[in-house]
């Protein structure tokens, strides 16, 4: 009998939303306790700041340039490498419950397995694996999927439609009549992507994901090794948690986030010091990516609207913390808790009002790139609690899970098992983290490559719609934690900048070509 693995991911969660990371809006005692008894990473970064590429990195242990999911809407091939296939082949029972998103949601022809399973009342499909053998889709015995709303053909949608159809209309409608991300407003302040959702808490997708996880875990045989990826769709927008829970965090009591500069002129001065697409989006002149509402102009965001969004986001985080607590109690009751490793993280961050912006896009700053990451090793492994400040990445999760299972990391994995403390990180050469952005959507192109190292984050731009390829960003994460002063063109930092760029170019994996086809916006 080996160690079991519970991988908990959320979607679009900022580092500073957890109490253990200094967050002040949400109470997260369960996750804070995991951190206190495990390893808390202070500089964990995604290799992409949008869902599909980032989730593909978790599964494959590869950077987007290698696994080929270069933007949302590009599917991860069914026979891509998968850590879950490795665990399955080693005898693990395997499940993903909640948001998967390795394949696009907009799929009217039913091309993708993720969208076919629920209508067929199935929980996996037979498929080709990376090694050429056949097995369950991507290695998962059981996939029971959900996303941010009951739209689409996933299991949660069908469960809600068949069991509680009266609750469908309470969710924020994610897409508008043109199938763009909706800019509709709601709540007390007419804030974008906010709705008062009268749904019972027990029917909301956070509790559903926990319930289905507990059911799957409870069906495991005593002594069976298992891997469960419990993947919450929240706190990704829309911000429409159950109305019954809104009293947890009153928006009127919220202090504005530190990254939100309330004075518009000062805020715009900060943005003006960054590459042009920042200001173009802020003013509504250019929406470069599908992930933000096409018809929403960030410059219109008001302080009270941000307070309400922040509060609702905090409620969603608290509900996740409660749900994690219920699952941990179930594991305790199963009698195997000592042998369970728990990893808690997210796929990318949320702008959350920093620089007056919301949602996400080609903006490589801490709001999107500094992630909560906690590894609570199985108590039976006797690994001491620690805080790691060295940069690590989601690319390191697959080799970490290999190591937990007693498997050698595969040569296609590009990361390394997470360090257990900073000495371990230093001894094993952890030094830098890389993050990529590529998008090409209806004639608008953006390309970024970023390195985080030695307390600095440096981004270079490729030629695109708003850039000629000479632009860049350089921030001192220690002395400028809000990344408000762009040092890229500061002559006194030229040597440091050039060294980071040289390291970035040497370390960045080459982009797999030809680029895979973009088949949907998301």
């Amino acid at each position: 009998m080996g160690r079991k693995i519970l991988l908990i991911t959320t979607d679009q969660q900022r580092f500073d939303t957890l109490g253990c990371n200094g967050g002040v809006y949400s109470r997260t005692p369960v996750i804070d306790s995991l951190a206190a008894h495990g390893i808390r990473y202070e500089r964990a970064q995604p290799q992409s700041v949008v869902c599909m590429p980032s989730r593909s990195t978790i599964l494959t242990g590869q950077h987007p340039s290698t696994h080929g999911v270069w933007m949302n809407g590009v599917p991860l091939p069914a026979d891509a490498p998968s850590i879950v296939e490795e665990l399955k082949a080693a005898g693990y029972a395997t499940a993903l419950i909640g948001k998967s998103h390795f394949e696009p949601y907009m799929d009217p022809f039913g091309v993708f397995a993720e969208n076919r399973m629920a209508p067929a009342e199935e929980f996996t499909e037979d498929d080709v694996w990376f090694d050429g053998s056949r097995g369950p889709h991507r290695g998962f015995d059981h996939m029971e999927m959900a996303t941010h709303s009951p739209a689409g053909t996933l299991h949660y949608s069908r469960w809600l439609i068949f069991n509680h159809p009266e609750a469908l209309g309470g969710f924020f409608p994610v897409l508008d009549g043109n199938l763009e991300v909706s800019a509709a407003t709601g709540g007390d302040t007419d804030a974008v992507q906010v709705a008062i959702n009268p749904i019972d808490k027990e029917w909301y997708h956070t509790d559903w994901v926990a319930d289905r996880t507990i059911d799957w875990l409870s069906a495991r045989d005593q002594g069976e090794d298992w891997f469960c990826w419990m993947s919450f769709p929240d706190p990704h927008h829309p911000w429409d948690p159950p109305a019954s829970e809104l009293g947890r965090v009153a928006w009127q009591d919220i202090d504005l986030p530190a990254g939100y500069v309330e004075n518009a002129a000062a805020r715009e001065q900060i943005i003006a010091d960054k590459p042009r697409h920042w200001m173009d989006w802020y003013t509504g002149a250019l929406v470069s990516n599908f992930e933000a509402p096409h018809d929403w102009v960030p410059a219109t965001l008001q302080a009270d609207q941000l307070r309400e969004i922040t509060a609702k986001n905090a409620v969603e985080v608290e509900l996740i913390d409660d749900a994690v607590g219920r699952v941990m109690a179930a594991i305790e009751a199963m009698g195997c808790a000592d042998d369970v490793d728990i990893i808690f993280t997210t796929d990318h961050g949320e702008l959350g009002g920093d620089f007056g912006l919301l949602f996400k896009g080609p903006y490589h700053v801490d709001a999107l790139m500094r992630l909560p990451l906690i590894w609570r090793p199985a108590p039976s492994a006797s690994i001491a609690p620690a805080v790691v400040s060295t940069p690590v990445g989601l690319v390191d999760l697959a080799p970490t899970m290999s190591s937990i299972a007693g498997l050698a990391a595969k040569d296609w994995m590009e990361g390394a098992a997470l360090p257990v403390d900073d000495d371990d990180a230093s001894a094993r050469g952890f030094e830098r983290s890389l993050t990529e952005w590529d998008s090409s959507l209806f004639g608008v192109e953006v390309h970024l490559r970023t390195i985080t190292r030695d307390g600095f984050v440096c981004t270079i731009y490729g030629p695109g719609t708003s850039h000629d390829g000479t632009e860049g960003e350089l921030y001192d994460l220690v002395h400028d934690p809000l990344q408000q002063v762009n040092l890229f063109n500061d002559p006194s930092r030229a040597s440091l900048r050039d060294d980071l760029i040289d390291d970035l170019r040497r370390s960045q994996p080459p982009q797999a070509t030809p680029l895979a086809t973009l088949v949907a916006p998301v």
Binding site: P108, G110, F442, V519, A520
Partner: protein, 133 residues
């Protein structure tokens, strides 16, 4: 807002051979992998997809001289659509097939365009396999 995508494929077959397949409206079920069947009545082509959906298309141009087929998809969520297939002779035994999709809402251009890319890959494989067979 209108969106446009365009895919193309070079096929190692004469343009007339390629046109014989892609220019015959009723044969689309033979090479479009997402479609199970197609029937044509007048200028209306009725498609049945493999996922069970049925919809009509209006044939706008079927021009064997220019080797252009153009059609309009009729679905409630689409306010405008135009699909255009051009077969261009590159030599006595090579052709270029260009498949363009214009659509409102623009998002559907991506989704429909991706299906046309799969179809181009499929028709290329079918025709080149016939060549080798």
């Amino acid at each position: 807002m209108l969106g446009a995508v365009r895919y193309s494929s070079e096929i190692a077959r004469p343009a007339d051979d390629v046109w014989a397949m892609v220019g015959e409206p009723a044969r689309i079920g033979d090479w479009f992998p997402d479609f199970a069947s197609a029937t044509v009545e007048g200028t209306t082509r009725t498609i049945v997809t493999k996922s069970g959906m049925t919809f009509d298309e209006e044939l706008l141009i079927v021009d064997p001289i220019m080797r252009r087929l153009q059609y309009r998809l009729d679905l409630p969520i689409i306010s405008f659509h135009r699909g255009t297939i051009d077969v261009i002779e590159l030599g006595s035994d090579r052709s270029l097939v260009v498949y363009a999709t214009e659509c409102d809402p623009r998002i559907m251009a991506l989704v429909i365009g991706a299906a046309t890319k799969r179809a181009l890959d499929a028709v290329t494989a079918i025709l080149e396999e016939e060549n080798h067979g």
